[in-house]
C-alpha cells in the first residue's frame, strides 16, 4: 500500500505520517522539512495556492499510482481536497480520526457536530484528516527531500498577518484550566489564574471566550472548531458543555467541572463536578491545594 499525504501545517503533518508509518509506504507533499518521521519521499514546495498545489498533487498521483491520498484538514487542505475530489472524480471522506484497511477501508468521523461517531466502510481514495489523529514520533528512517517546483498561480497574496498567539500550545498541556462565558469578563481571568498557577497548567477557553469576546487568543479555543486537547486534567469553569465544546475534550483523562447550573450538560460529561459559583469555589480550591 502506498499513500500520498498533503499538509501545509507541519504539526498536523507529523501526526499523520506517524499514524500511517509502518502501515503503508508514505510520500509527502508539504511546505516544511519534515524528514525524520518515516516518509520515503518529501516533496517540498514554497508559497503554493489551491490551484498549483492541486495540479502538482494530481501529477504525482497519476505517476505514482497511490492507493490513498490523505490531506490534513486545514483551510487550504480542505480547498485542495474538494478540487482533487472533482478532478480525479473520487469521493473524499472528510474529517477522519481513524483509518483501518485490513480487508476494506473503515474510517471514523464525528457527525452532527460531534453528537455521534460514524463508522463507515467505503472504497474512497481521498480523505481529510482531523487534527490530532496521533502522537507525532520521530523515527530513525530519514526521508528523501525533493524540491517541488510549482507552476504559476492565478492567485496573489496582498498581505499576511500573524494571529495573536498566547504562548504555549494547549494540545501539549498536562493540566488545562478552561474558562467559559460564565467567567463574565476579561478582568475576571485574574481570579482564576491562581488555580492555573497552583496546578502549573495552561489556560484555555470556550469559543465565545476566544473568538467573540477575545478574552483569550484564538489558539486557546477548545472544541470542534478549535483545538482537540488531551490533558490529564481538564478543569472547566463556567462552561456549559455544548456538544461542540465537548468534541475538543473527549481525550482528556479526567474532566472536572465547576458550574452554578446543576442542569448544565457538562455535568453529564465530567468525572467530578461541583455545582456552585466559580468565584467562591475556585479560591477555596486554591487554598486547599496550597495548604496540604
Amino acid at each position: 500500500m502506498r499513500c500520498l499525504i498533503f499538509s501545509d501545517d507541519a504539526d498536523n503533518l507529523k501526526e499523520i505520517i506517524s499514524y500511517f508509518y509502518k502501515k503503508m509506504d508514505i510520500d509527502v507533499f508539504c511546505n516544511s522539512e519534515v524528514l525524520d518521521y518515516g516518509a520515503n519521499n518529501v516533496y517540498k514546495y514554497n508559497d503554493g495556492f489551491s490551484d498549483n498545489i492541486s495540479e502538482y498533487l494530481i501529477e504525482l498521483y497519476n505517476k505514482n499510482k497511490y492507493d490513498y491520498i490523505f490531506i490534513s484538514s486545514t483551510n487550504l487542505g480542505r480547498q485542495i481536497a474538494g478540487i482533487l475530489s472533482d478532478k480525479l472524480n473520487e469521493k473524499c471522506m472528510p474529517e477522519i480520526f481513524s483509518f483501518e484497511n485490513d480487508y476494506k477501508v473503515v474510517t471514523k468521523r464525528f457527525f452532527y457536530g460531534g453528537k455521534s461517531v460514524l463508522t463507515e466502510e467505503t472504497d474512497f481514495k481521498i480523505f481529510t484528516v482531523a487534527p490530532g489523529i496521533y502522537e507525532a514520533k520521530k523515527v530513525d528512517k530519514r526521508s528523501n527531500l525533493i524540491d517541488a517546483k510549482l507552476k504559476n498561480s492565478r492567485y496573489k497574496i496582498l498581505s499576511k498577518k500573524k494571529k495573536n498567539t498566547g504562548g504555549n500550545d494547549i494540545t501539549k498541556a498536562k493540566v488545562i484550566v478552561s474558562i467559559g462565558r460564565g467567567l463574565g469578563s476579561k478582568e475576571n481571568i485574574e481570579k482564576v489564574m491562581p488555580l492555573v498557577d497552583a496546578l502549573h497548567g495552561e489556560i484555555a477557553g470556550s469559543r465565545p471566550v476566544c473568538l467573540d469576546y477575545k478574552w483569550l487568543s484564538e489558539d486557546k479555543q477548545v472544541g470542534l472548531s478549535g483545538k482537540k486537547v488531551k490533558p490529564d486534567f481538564y478543569i472547566a469553569l463556567g462552561i456549559s458543555g455544548q456538544i461542540q465544546h465537548l468534541a475538543g475534550i473527549r481525550n482528556a483523562k479526567t474532566i472536572i467541572a465547576i458550574n452554578k447550573d446543576k442542569n448544565a450538560p457538562i455535568f453529564e460529561e465530567c468525572d467530578y463536578g461541583i455545582v456552585g459559583d466559580l468565584f467562591t469555589v475556585v479560591p477555596k480550591l486554591v487554598d486547599k491545594l496550597k495548604n496540604n
Partner: protein, 243 residues
C-alpha cells in the same frame, strides 16, 4: 453585481435524541437553516447593498426547505430555487446538483458557508470551484469588490491572509464575518408571499458508503457531582497528583 448564495438546511442538532443502544434517532428531526448559511446570506445581502445587483438563493434540500428560503427572502435575498432530492451528506452529489443550477444563472460571485455544522467537511467550495472553473477563496472574514477584482481576507490556522482574485469567484465565509440580521415582522410577512421556484434533481446517489455504526461517542465519565458547597476537599485530593 449578480450574487448566488448557497443555503443549507440541517437537522436541529440540539434536538437529537439517542435510543437505548446509544444510537442517533435521525428520523423526524426538525430542520433549520444552517448557522454558516445565515452568515453567507448576510454576506451576500450586504454586498448587494454596497455594490448593487441581485441575490439568488439556492437550496439543495427537501420539500421542507421552503421555511429556510422564506427566511432568506426576509433577510434580503431576491429570488430563490429549491432543488428537491437531497438525501444525505455527499459533497460530490451536492456539488453536481448545485453546479448544474449555477450554470443556468448569471453570476459574478457565489457565496456559501465554509463548513456545515453537521458534517464539518468543508469540501463543497473546492468541488464547485473545480467543476465551474472559478476562483476559490475560503473561510473569508472580509470581502471587498473593486471592479473586476475581489480582495478577500481569509482566516487560516496561524495567520490571516488577504488575497486578490478576479471575478467571478466562489467564496466560503467564516462565522466571524458578520452577525446575521434578524428581519422584522413586515419583512417576514412579505417574504411569506414571495414565489419560490421548486425543481427536482435527476442526479442519483450511489450506494458506496456503508455505515457500520452511528453512535454517540462513548461516555465513560464517572459523573460524581457535589452540591451544597461540598466537593472541594475531594477534588483537591484528586488534583494532588499534579504537583
Amino acid at each position: 453585481m449578480d450574487i448566488i448564495v448557497l443555503i443549507k438546511q440541517t437537522v436541529d442538532m440540539d434536538q437529537i435524541r439517542l435510543n437505548e443502544n446509544n444510537e442517533v434517532i435521525a428520523e423526524d428531526l426538525p430542520l433549520k437553516t444552517d448557522v454558516l448559511s445565515k452568515n453567507a446570506i448576510e454576506t451576500a445581502v450586504q454586498l448587494k447593498e454596497k455594490y448593487g445587483g441581485k441575490v439568488t438563493g439556492i437550496i439543495f434540500g427537501t420539500e421542507k426547505a421552503t421555511s429556510s428560503m422564506k427566511e432568506a427572502y426576509a433577510m434580503g435575498v431576491d429570488d430563490g430555487y429549491i432543488i428537491k432530492g437531497y438525501k444525505k451528506s455527499d459533497p460530490i452529489i451536492t456539488s453536481k446538483v448545485l453546479s448544474n443550477k449555477i450554470k443556468e444563472i448569471k453570476n459574478d460571485l457565489i457565496i456559501l458557508g465554509n463548513q456545515s455544522s453537521d458534517s464539518y467537511s468543508g469540501l463543497l467550495a473546492g468541488l464547485l470551484a473545480s467543476e465551474l472553473d472559478m476562483n476559490l477563496l475560503s473561510n473569508a472574514i472580509k470581502i471587498d469588490v473593486d471592479g473586476d477584482n475581489v480582495n478577500v481576507t481569509m482566516e487560516a490556522e496561524k495567520e490571516e491572509i488577504t488575497m486578490e482574485s478576479k471575478l467571478p469567484a466562489i467564496i466560503s465565509v467564516a462565522q466571524e464575518i458578520n452577525e446575521p440580521r434578524l428581519p422584522n415582522v413586515m419583512k417576514i410577512m412579505a417574504a411569506g408571499k414571495k414565489n419560490i421556484n421548486i425543481e427536482e434533481t435527476d442526479v442519483k446517489y450511489e450506494n458506496d458508503d456503508k455505515i457500520l455504526s452511528d453512535k454517540a461517542p462513548e461516555n465513560k465519565r464517572k459523573k460524581i457531582i457535589y452540591e451544597d458547597g461540598n466537593g472541594i476537599d475531594e477534588i483537591a485530593k484528586i488534583l494532588k497528583v499534579v504537583k
